[in-house]
């Protein structure tokens, strides 16, 4: 070949920063949605329908569940996925409908702080929960407590 090879015109231009943030956010919504269907309906089924159903719900029932690592992980996953899923959804709504940049920024700030607060508080409760508080009446406690 006698022709010289010239670099192609318009070689890929670097767009600002080239991130896949929006792609991952979109993907997360689909994946977490699928997980949440299983988690939420599993939760509702176990709490409201199995055994005595809704009548069994009391402190002891919840305490009993959280003594089991399976339910700790289940509730933790549900909390995180639902919170992030919802927060991202609201972020989208704010992006779509808040017209002024300032309003948009503050609304999103408020959203992120509220979401972070709820996630941290919820996580803390799941892991530091004491199923047998010392001063509680015995009949309210789950069966495995020393006082019950």
């Amino acid at each position: 070949m006698t022709t010289t090879t010239i670099a192609a015109p318009r070689s890929p231009r670097r767009l600002r920063g080239r991130t896949n943030t929006e792609l991952y956010a979109w993907l997360f919504m689909r994946v977490s949605g699928v997980f949440l269907i299983v988690l939420v309906f599993g939760h509702l089924f176990v709490n409201l329908m199995v055994g005595e159903g809704i009548n069994a719900l009391d402190f002891a029932f919840v305490a009993g569940k959280w003594a089991d690592p399976l339910w700790q992980v289940w509730d933790l996953l549900m909390l995180w996925l639902a919170m992030i899923h919802g927060t991202n959804g609201l972020r989208t709504v704010i992006n779509d409908y808040a017209e002024r940049d300032q309003v948009r920024m503050w609304l999103k700030m408020l959203l992120y702080v509220a979401a972070a607060f709820t996630i941290i508080l919820g996580t803390l409760v799941i892991f530091t929960f004491d199923p047998c508080p010392a001063e509680a009446a015995a009949e309210l406690l789950p069966s495995f407590c020393p006082g019950a």
């Binding site: 318009r10 890929p12 767009l15 896949n20």
Partner: protein, 255 residues
């Protein structure tokens, strides 16, 4: 003289009697930048025929009642894409919408398409819309030397992007999208349709770049699958499907 041209309206008993005629009220959203501060509504009641389209009603008003009525149209046969407007709240081509298909009991509302600045009456500034189209590079991108004959393509490869070649750039889809209404930065369905036409063309080599452009914050991920665009498209292009295909290509980096 054997050839005679009859003056319009001279033979009221002939042709029109064959076609049913009816009364229709056209409710137009008018705006004259020279005298109005706000758009206003204006009603006209006309006698029209079963073969008439919304465009014919607009013509009748412009030619016989109020010459200042301003709207775009060119081909009048659904080819040029210049007369997209909001008819009874839906984006349609005035030249493809028959009056008899609309509920005639109530006035038929005709507004300019939403999301682009109104210049006068039904005419909007299309520049931002074209700018979005330009930014996805709607032309063949190749590397290496040009072949000395045509670029061959199998019918199956051609079929891959057939749907999106039908676009006439009427903007009905983009201006029916609620995301576009509130965020003019969004590329909009039409730009994605335009990109789809090249991304899935086996002869084109610019898919990477176009995908990268549409991966932007204001790109395909802004789509909420509302399906307004698919409903609006006068060419019957499955716009939402095309957008989903671009999302998929981005997700799996495979065209």
């Amino acid at each position: 003289m054997t050839l005679t041209t009859e003056a319009p309206g001279a033979t009221p008993a002939e042709a029109p009697s064959a076609i049913p005629s009816f009364q229709v009220t056209m409710r137009l959203r008018r705006f004259n930048p020279e005298s109005d501060t706000e758009p206003r509504w204006e009603n006209h009641t006309l006698t029209m025929h079963g073969t008439d389209r919304v465009l014919d009603a607009l013509h009748k008003i412009k030619w016989e009642i109020d010459g200042s009525l301003t709207f775009r149209r060119s081909c009048a046969h659904g080819i040029c894409g210049s007369d997209a407007m909001r008819i009874n709240g839906r984006n349609r081509l005035a030249c493809k919408t028959l009056l008899k298909d609309l509920p005639l009991k109530k006035p038929i509302t005709v507004e300019p398409i939403k999301g682009l600045a109104v210049q006068k009456d039904l005419v909007v500034d299309m520049e931002p819309f074209y700018a979005a189209y330009k930014s996805i590079m709607p032309f063949l991108i190749t590397t290496g030397n040009d072949p000395s004959r045509e670029r061959r393509q199998s019918p199956a490869d051609r079929e891959r992007f057939d749907d999106t070649t039908k676009c006439i750039l009427c903007a009905a889809c983009t201006t029916s999208c609620p995301v576009y209404w509130s965020d003019g930065q969004y590329f909009g369905p039409q730009a994605i349709v335009g990109a789809h036409r090249f991304i899935f063309d086996s002869r084109d080599e610019g898919a990477e770049q176009r995908l990268e452009i549409l991966n932007d914050r204001e790109g395909v991920w802004r789509c909420r699958t509302t399906f307004n665009c698919t409903d609006a498209c006068p060419r019957g292009i499955e716009v939402t499907k095309a957008i989903q295909e671009v999302k998929q290509a981005l997700l799996f980096r495979r065209v």
